[in-house]
Symmetry: D2
């Protein structure tokens, strides 16, 4: 976890206090279920919840001090609780194994993390939708291979991003469901010393599903799928970040990350306004993605479990979720305040001297009865002049001055082929597809 790429709510999920709090709730719910089954006295559950109702401060240092002696984190925690709850605490954890607590706790943490990320996505989607409609018909050049192709609108670019993050939201909802399970099944998952109804109760109280069959642990394919999904979302962040970085480069400058009026990019160079936020997002995407393979390597634990997954999860659990949360929020901020320059978009559209329209003129000539070969020749000889002028000449003007062309098409007919709106007639259709509920 790198503090500068962290936000408080997500970071709090991974604090020791939160973890111990979740442990307590798991143990207390389990004790309640055991009491309801008559295995332990009702007074035990009551004592736990009564103490919890006092909203006790969790003393991480004290628990750590006990762990330094016992060398066992769950036992240390239970000991500390017993010191405060008293004798009734001895009924806690009966028939359970440490992993029951640890793994169910991780599920709760990942579910909470997913909920924050889903909220992040909603906020990003809202911004993308607003900006997409704002620029629904703002013309800009579409590029393939970095080379001008044909006109699009800036709103279409944003609609694409909206559609992509809508897909990501659905994927994250699926991944959230995948890790939202609870296992309270004992040392090797057989429920030898604990009734499955305890698991069912804890699961229900925590908003989790029961794990149909666990070993000592919840199977790690669930977590692998979760982190792989975060990696896909991060890749989508990178895509939009790279788009902004391209649009901001000096020669293009069709959009910029927000720059406050008084802000200085460089004390010496007034032209320096760098897309540092989206560059940063590009790097953060690499990091979130990098959790994917270790998470997959964690799946093949030996037999009923080994503990190799644990250290990996101590890194990627916090890192991947905190970083993705930060990145989504940063991207939302960038898109919210993005400076968009339609005039420059138009200037870039025009910089090829109208060559983007050559295809339509070619077609019109053919339809007007000129042979395909002659049509091509006529368009090309004018297009080449424009190309060689580096966009200084105008294809429209040249065509209108070419007698062979005007013999087939009137100036008005030629002009009509340079109409940008021709390209945008389906924008409504596309927006309807993307933004329909």
């Amino acid at each position: 976890m790198v503090p500068r790429y962290s936000r408080p709510a997500m970071t709090a999920i991974w604090s020791p206090e939160t973890r111990f709090g979740i442990w307590f709730e798991i143990e207390a719910h389990a004790t309640q279920a055991l009491a309801d089954l008559g295995v332990v006295p009702q007074s035990a559950a009551k004592a736990l919840w009564n103490w919890w109702a006092t909203n006790p401060q969790i003393d991480v240092a004290a628990i750590d001090a006990i762990e330094a002696v016992t060398k066992h984190d769950v036992i240390a925690f239970l000991t500390w609780v017993a010191e405060h709850v008293g004798d009734e605490a001895r009924f806690m954890h009966q028939g359970m194994t440490s992993s029951d607590v640890l793994d169910t706790c991780l599920s709760v943490q990942l579910v909470r993390a997913a909920d924050i990320l889903l909220d992040d996505l909603d906020q990003l989607l809202a911004v993308l939708k607003r900006r997409a409609f704002e620029h629904k018909l703002t013309p800009t050049i579409g590029r393939s291979h970095g080379i001008h192709a044909e006109p699009v609108t800036f709103g279409l670019k944003l609609a694409e991003a909206y559609a992509e993050f809508t897909r990501n939201k659905a994927r994250l909802q699926a991944a959230r469901a995948d890790i939202a399970t609870c296992a309270i099944s004992g040392a090797v998952g057989t429920f030898a010393n604990i009734d499955p109804r305890v698991e069912a109760h804890v699961a229900q109280q925590l908003g989790l599903a029961i794990e149909p069959v666990s070993t000592q642990v919840i199977p790690r394919d669930r977590h692998a799928m979760f982190f792989a999904t975060l990696g896909v979302i991060a890749s989508s962040i990178e895509r939009l970040a790279v788009e902004i970085r391209h649009l901001q480069r000096t020669e293009v400058l069709e959009a910029e990350e927000y720059f406050s009026p008084g802000q200085k990019g460089s004390s010496a160079m007034p032209h320096k306004r760098n897309p540092v936020l989206t560059e940063n997002l590009t790097g953060l995407a690499r990091m979130v993605r990098s959790a994917t393979i270790p998470a997959m390597e964690n799946v093949a634990l030996w037999h009923e479990r080994d503990i190799s997954h644990s250290s990996v999860e101590r890194y990627i659990g916090p890192d991947a979720t905190i970083t993705l949360d930060f990145a989504l929020a940063r991207l939302t901020g960038v898109m919210d305040k993005l400076l968009v320059y339609p005039a420059r978009m138009q200037k870039n559209l025009d910089r090829m001297g109208g060559l983007v329209h050559s295809q339509r003129v070619l077609l019109a000539l053919t339809q007007a009865g000129v042979s395909r070969e002659d049509s091509y020749r006529l368009v090309q000889r004018n297009a080449m002049k424009v190309w060689e002028s580096d966009g200084e000449l105008s294809l429209l003007e040249l065509l209108k001055a070419d007698a062979e062309v005007t013999a087939a098409l009137s100036p008005a007919e030629i002009e009509e082929k340079f109409d940008l709106d021709y390209h945008f007639k389906q924008v409504d259709t596309i927006f309807d597809r993307v933004f329909a509920d």
Copy 2:
């Protein structure tokens, strides 16, 4: 693609013949839609389908020869088709861009690949279910950290695998839906020169959904999710493969890959029967997983597209699907014929001299009124003798010979604590959870 790790049906999906066949269908369906919209003559569509009805041989070499001249694969293909269909073929591809064909074709290929993989999963699941019920109550030792823990059944191990691959099936179904889209939207996705109804028709004919908004290409987050999902499935394969490899090692030998009666593991060493299939699966899992990151790196194409994704997909499209298909089939074969040795499982269970039952005796002594400290001391002094004998001594016999123990528990009561069935009383419950429909 490595031939020895390939099966014909999956490999065929990636052959040039298949690809060109799908291209033809996309073009012909599109022409039909254009004809229905009155953009091209009905005779054009009819000519295409009439020719196709003759089941023509696709001449890959001829198309390649044309591409060597035109330097453009789609144009080469269209030219070759035109040579056979005749003049009516000139109406093909109108308003379309090459990527419309290429990307929709890739969707069809990945959908077909997913269907084979889903079928593979069904076959694996059927085998796992059969073997799980066969060994539902076959006792075996559960291990954490590679160390004996408490008893489980071999059927439970297989039920876990069944549950895991059931999850993988659901994930693959979602991933299949994710890449099952069709884009026929022109050079930059604006439908400038083609009606969206053409896309809708082609999609419907090919069993795909329309891509709500495309650029020049279908967005690559879809493919990233697809390949990441294959990576998760591969990791589950690795998990089961590693389990078999462990069970087959000389000192454990609780199960073995099938070995035909006359087969020789080694001409000199009759004891060599190596788990080579599951070792192989471990390696194949690494390869399938390795497609994940490149697929994610493909997402951030520049602007409306660059072509950097293409070469990546030429590798991972065939490799990841062919390898996973092979691996699933191989795993199914291994599990189908797996030699299971219940006697050896029992022997291993017993090799600790009954120490796995020490916890229950401890509890019983406590419940019989012996203090916890004394109970622990009594059990431990006998357990230690067993431990030091390397399992030669029997904990049960020692306890029955310990006067302090028998003062609290009768021999029958002690014996009852050594009952394996105690551990298996919830196996039915777990099986009901896992195998319920």
Copy 3:
């Protein structure tokens, strides 16, 4: 292996014929050593070499047919050799294990692959050096964050690439040495049934070092290092490819992949000249990199070996080396013929109206006695006009027309600050550093 990204010499290394040929040489050299040690008759070695001297055709199909029966590749090969060499062949392979042949063969293949790659690097370096000197003083704008910063020369960009690939060459030489070992040490590496002098002889004949201690196999950390090194080289390819892609984009167009005079980028759009080769290289880099993690996962084989590495190497051995060879050659071709447009570079340099020189004017004013605050104000008020004009106005002209500025600096003094050569005075120094032998 994808044929379109393959070149014959590298591909040949991985053919069955080559592999069997190397096997033969390993076996024959070993037999010779055994004969020299008196373990087998000299006639055996002689028979092998005599047959080999007839340059026999290796019949892969015949060997495969034998393997289909024996289920063992090395035994099948030995059987086939024996069919041709006759009875003396029975002395082959004495005391050896299959892995002795397989692993030493892989070393030979990787060494040969490394040699081709080193040659590729030499060719790339030669081209980069030539073009670097050609454009040693061609001015172009240096960019950070994609934003204009200060002037550099195009030759400097190429010198950087040269230095980077020089480092890569040194790394590859180290990686080559790392995998250039020979192991002929028997079933578990103890030389129980074969004298270490056999290994020494084979190693010496094949230009390999002896493996100081092997298990059944050559340790896979060597191969991991090799493939990781290829991944670094691929990343450097990506860097240069991305640079070209940026330079070719419509708005920049400072350089282009070669385009033959008559070539058409698009039948309809004369402005389409796409950087498809460097985009392709970007994708190929992702693939070469993707071999790194599987190669590292191969290191932790169980005990004296398991065979999980083998399938991984069947993919990445050919794929990573063939793809990198192709990519290096393609990059060399791109750089060799790269169209460079100095005029456009100058135009882009000028497009900020001379703002890149603002810092030097600021300093000059200060040195001429104007306070730092006033200096900044004077420069900024002119710079802002230029900035707002989108480079239409000239900073130089505005400064020369600003009475407060000219009160401190003469027009000649101002002009001197707009001298590009100021930035290039150390280019010789840098070139000396980079290109010194």
Copy 4:
């Protein structure tokens, strides 16, 4: 960075205090060089060093507070220094760019990290060497595929690890050299405003080489190689960790992680002594490896630099080095105190009833004149009995009781074939190879 997997010395390298301290040294050395060149007054350099000689406390909070205003870390630092050094500080940083400081600082940090890691490797090597000689001739079974193969010694296993980590040390030395460069070359690497001799001086003072050609930054192929090398070392750690985990499993138990006499593995189960340290190392290896791909993705920065690498390095710089340092130290501790059980090794060697020697008997019968077919039949019929007895019967005893066998070989001759030392006759040779200086 996860505190529980961190050691103080390595962690300190990445503290803000250390970073600012290195920044100061870079700036002060540069100022000294500028003074020696007459660009700034000698008094400026003197003022800086005089202040530094007072061993001032670096006030991170104060610097952070300034950065909160200036939004620029290097400027904030320079401002803070100026507050303490006074007016002379204004000569600092002249002609330099922030990256000159940041990148050179990173080089210093990585060099220091490499030095700690090299020291870690030396300590590990010393332990491995000591234990290797201790068990040079301790017989144990060699296993391929997890199946008993032929005898080795435990010392040989350790010699292999020693050789592997010796290679890793050489690789790390190369990687250290790769990142040990200094760049003080200005905004785009042209030395436009700073003399290259400043760079040379700073480099020399910090024990770095000059970067022959930089852009704004030190090229990231250097860092990619560094982190890839750490990934290879981590993979070797995993290999040895997996070996220990295998040896400790209940059925094998040939070695164990150290367990203090009074320690409890489990309060209930005396047989639970889990290889948790080596399992942990397996997970840590995955994490160190996961830095490789992001480090490679960092190479292709746009043009003269973008800042996408920076966030990646904020994670992997500390994480990969701190984790690897911890892992090496943990592995050294494990190997130092490893409990080795020669008796159990012998027992496992014997558990196949002597089948590991069958090959030698076969050969001896042949050499005694029995036909190969008969020899095989004689050995096999006895070997099969042993195999079916699960090692209860002894191959040696059976052979000595087989009249057909004893007709060809005397009991003494048979016994001689069961001599383990036969397998160990080259151990000296191998040790000489591995441990020779």
